[in-house]
Subunit: 337 residues, 4 copies
Amino acid sequence: MIIVMKENATSDSVEKIVKAIESAGLKTHLSKGEEVTIIGVIGDKSRLDTCAIEADPSVSKIVPITESYKLANKKLHPEPTIVKVKNTLIGPDTMTIMSGPCAVETEEQLMCIAKAVKKAGATILRGGAYKPRTSPYSFQGLEEEGLKYMKTASEETGLATICEVTSAHAVESAVKYVSMLQVGARNMQNFELLKEVGKTGLPVLLKRGLSATIDEWLNAAEYIMASGNPNVALCERGIRTYETSTRNTLDLSAVCVLKERTHLPVIVDPSHATGVRSYVEPLAKAAVACGADGLMIEVHNDPAHALSDGPQSLNFEQFDSVMEHIRPYIELAGRTL
Amino acid sequence: MIIVMKENATSDSVEKIVKAIESAGLKTHLSKGEEVTIIGVIGDKSRLDTCAIEADPSVSKIVPITESYKLANKKLHPEPTIVKVKNTLIGPDTMTIMSGPCAVETEEQLMCIAKAVKKAGATILRGGAYKPRTSPYSFQGLEEEGLKYMKTASEETGLATICEVTSAHAVESAVKYVSMLQVGARNMQNFELLKEVGKTGLPVLLKRGLSATIDEWLNAAEYIMASGNPNVALCERGIRTYETSTRNTLDLSAVCVLKERTHLPVIVDPSHATGVRSYVEPLAKAAVACGADGLMIEVHNDPAHALSDGPQSLNFEQFDSVMEHIRPYIELAGRTL
Amino acid sequence: MIIVMKENATSDSVEKIVKAIESAGLKTHLSKGEEVTIIGVIGDKSRLDTCAIEADPSVSKIVPITESYKLANKKLHPEPTIVKVKNTLIGPDTMTIMSGPCAVETEEQLMCIAKAVKKAGATILRGGAYKPRTSPYSFQGLEEEGLKYMKTASEETGLATICEVTSAHAVESAVKYVSMLQVGARNMQNFELLKEVGKTGLPVLLKRGLSATIDEWLNAAEYIMASGNPNVALCERGIRTYETSTRNTLDLSAVCVLKERTHLPVIVDPSHATGVRSYVEPLAKAAVACGADGLMIEVHNDPAHALSDGPQSLNFEQFDSVMEHIRPYIELAGRTL
Amino acid sequence: MIIVMKENATSDSVEKIVKAIESAGLKTHLSKGEEVTIIGVIGDKSRLDTCAIEADPSVSKIVPITESYKLANKKLHPEPTIVKVKNTLIGPDTMTIMSGPCAVETEEQLMCIAKAVKKAGATILRGGAYKPRTSPYSFQGLEEEGLKYMKTASEETGLATICEVTSAHAVESAVKYVSMLQVGARNMQNFELLKEVGKTGLPVLLKRGLSATIDEWLNAAEYIMASGNPNVALCERGIRTYETSTRNTLDLSAVCVLKERTHLPVIVDPSHATGVRSYVEPLAKAAVACGADGLMIEVHNDPAHALSDGPQSLNFEQFDSVMEHIRPYIELAGRTL
């Protein structure tokens, strides 16, 4: 951490800050420039009340040098983490495909989709039972009933399952039925929910917030890990920008940044990122090419009659085709399905 | 709602969509252009599965014409809502000042601040007991202990109180101690929390999400109102943009937009929006000038030693000065403190 | 300037960087932390090839401490600049109103508008003769013919005039006819144009780019000033964000930031920022309240038949009303029209 | 085009709008809903003054249905355009590699880089002679001298060349020396420059503006094409978002969107988009995988001493390695270098 003093800061002000830091058991290094004085801070910053320092009228700004997340940090854990979900591994040697409907509708529908996505190569069945919807008047999900269908589908097909949770109450139900919990974009900084999923020990897929920085995202993962749960995978699903041609802007450079900063595996969701069916295949290929560890793709038996998020869902034939076309890219990346 | 067909859509495709709409009990109006056909839909759209339509390969796009929020909509409730918080009214004739520390630290601190802000003209004491912090290692608030101090401060000074809630559990505690609940920016689309605060019936201050559109914000208010609680005020606190000179970008045009679309009162928080002490006064004046119904301003007895958000807090002398300087703007706006 | 080394940087790498800096005639200050080493650089950075340093594989990042703009910098010129445009002054004691049509259409139209805006209190007549339009098929302006009408209108009314220039060629024509040149948002980083308007010596209004940071904006002003022209005023006209309720998001906090960083006067344009007629008055008041030195407001004799930007233009009656309503805010701000 | 009337619009207001449209020779279609009336407009909209309509107080909004660009539109020109640059083709069967230094520094440097990039597989040599730099005090390029070196390098190696132009004056010089002109991000809406490069007939690479929508970008291409020059390629180089881990956010979904909307070829520039050397390879692979027709990659003989944009440049060894690693992706995409 570096403290940049204002140009008119007196030696007394500098001295006062230095004393405050050293009294907290840290060391300082002074650098007096022609225009400004800079104080380098050495030691464990969590002992320090940085707000008090930033609030000092003689301080211009504080520049953090090291990251605040530790358990998620690659520097402290250089080997890539492999997250085990039932019989599937998410990690550097595999390409994990999570597929299924946006929302679980009926047992028959889910079973039918589960069989189709398994046949095409998916190993994790996704399906929403608690749907966070912008309007209170939109379909909100089947809740526990939907979770039960997920369990049945898993038992019949052997697929692992993943379901979004939106409250402590939903977490309590979901742990009884599914293999992996998902925290959605809108809840990425719902810190109470992060602590709850952390306590379960179940693998967690943490989606990036609509306008979350990568740093905030890794700190959100840190909440889960600090609650005792190291089984976290991250999911890039598009960020909010001014561009309206796609629902969100898929940030594939985030995959590259994450691979440098964290050991956690990274999934890419081209379906939600774009909201457009025909963009799923090219962006799935691109995600594989730039280092993603898995893909989340929406599949529906009848997209034209889905209860939620129709325009981006693939039907079975389309999903088969996408899987066939991305297979050589997966091989080229040195991974197996 | 308007359905724009693709340019190559056949009459059969158009006919199919029209039938689907009419079978749901709605009416249609066809408009055949030289290039595209447009289907106007007349009636209650909540009966309609718009996803199924949008997913139809012959459909180009759906353009919504009317808003999905109803209880929050000015069209259906033209008179401005006045929210009563203890003895204070938030509405068109008043300028409600909510002030206090970002985080409650000790009973003495809170009491000292409460007296100071009351003297300067505030009628609602703010103070965080549950703090949503980016890093799990930052100070997270005193929780119920902090709420108790709020109650004591309210009893001694007569001020109403407001406190952020971050979980169903926090709501349960807060209703016992404070006059108004706050839903923070990070939880604006935590729909389960919105339903919880809706059920309490207590007045709610709903902060705008970091990158929420005004439409999403009003739909979030609708969640609270649809749960039976009409006592909602909205708080503009800056949105996330590319500009880094201020912590967020205060969107004062949102005040103008809200005044056209909703009857709910609007509060502006220049402290969080900018993160810079010296910008609080000019932007508070601007907020009053463009129609805000209240201001939320952070005040601390000793900003240089605050546990959270120091740089933007005002000390007592600064707050007195801000209040003195904005008073003529409040009068000019035809409001009373 | 601070150079942050990577965590694994060797003493040799550090030594190499230090030598490179010192051989350029600057001084360094080493600060060795537990994790990283930081090199403070003291002296005139323009002597230094910072790219070469940033490209060094042992360097993590460079943190600038001082601004790259000098002539526009308040630190080196603490007194506010007063820009004289014909008989009008733009500065700390006045509120300069620039009004007129988006595009000049006919001589009669312009004369009629000129008289109306003068009567209401404007001192500078605006009007576009070179219109930068998104589509090549939209109306592009009357060019030199329009400039001539501006000159006539100025002679008849005594108003100063301002016109946007979009090329070296347009600058050459404009200097013959108008009192002030405008560089539009789309050309804020058209550096060749900035140099051209710099050479004229005429007062220049520099609009903020659609997604320009305040730092980039001040550096653009520096281009004009470094070409020998100190008569620059800045115009905030909304930035591009994800919000679609208004055409752009008016960033009034930029006024506060500019007042701290530069001595140049600041104008606010609520018409272009919002694109909505009814938001012009409340945001004009807000701009005055937070410290703007002037307003640019679109006025048209017949907004419903304007050739460009109709929805945001005010008619004469509306403009009279806005001027009447903002007058007490101007007085409160201690300024005169 | 659809005109949505306000809810309280009278039949007279509707009638007035309808007459205005029909008197311009277009047809209308009325659609009266329970809440609003919608007017569909059929015919050539360029005959219509849409601003006048939008400004009518009874009109709520206008929704465009068809695009304003025609020459760039895939609907009117379904076959992909192949742009010929000297002996190189940019189009659906090739992967065109444009490489070289950010800025031309000396003849020796440029020749050395030209030979290296040719050997590795590039066919177009890039190099800046006119550099648009944020600060007026940064290195601005060698101008005509640099162009001469480009010509010599082209003659010695047989490579085609591309150079950014920033003014009419630069265009005039560049046409004498280089094979392709580049319009940079900051000048994407410098419409006068677009017209100038349009008049030359030389192939043009049009970079996306820092915050340009895809629609604005295609309209900028339309300016060039409408000036008589059909040889336009588009270059995605990252957009401005709130994320600061990369210099810009590379928008690869833009490649997919462009492939649906236009017949013009699309180049991706991962060097400028990220500003980070190690992200160039994975994002180059991703660009190839999602359908790009070419790549622009910065290469420098000595990135640690480049005069501009060092941190993102690859040295020869790194560029060889990137080319070797992307080659199988190019083959998989069915393209040849």
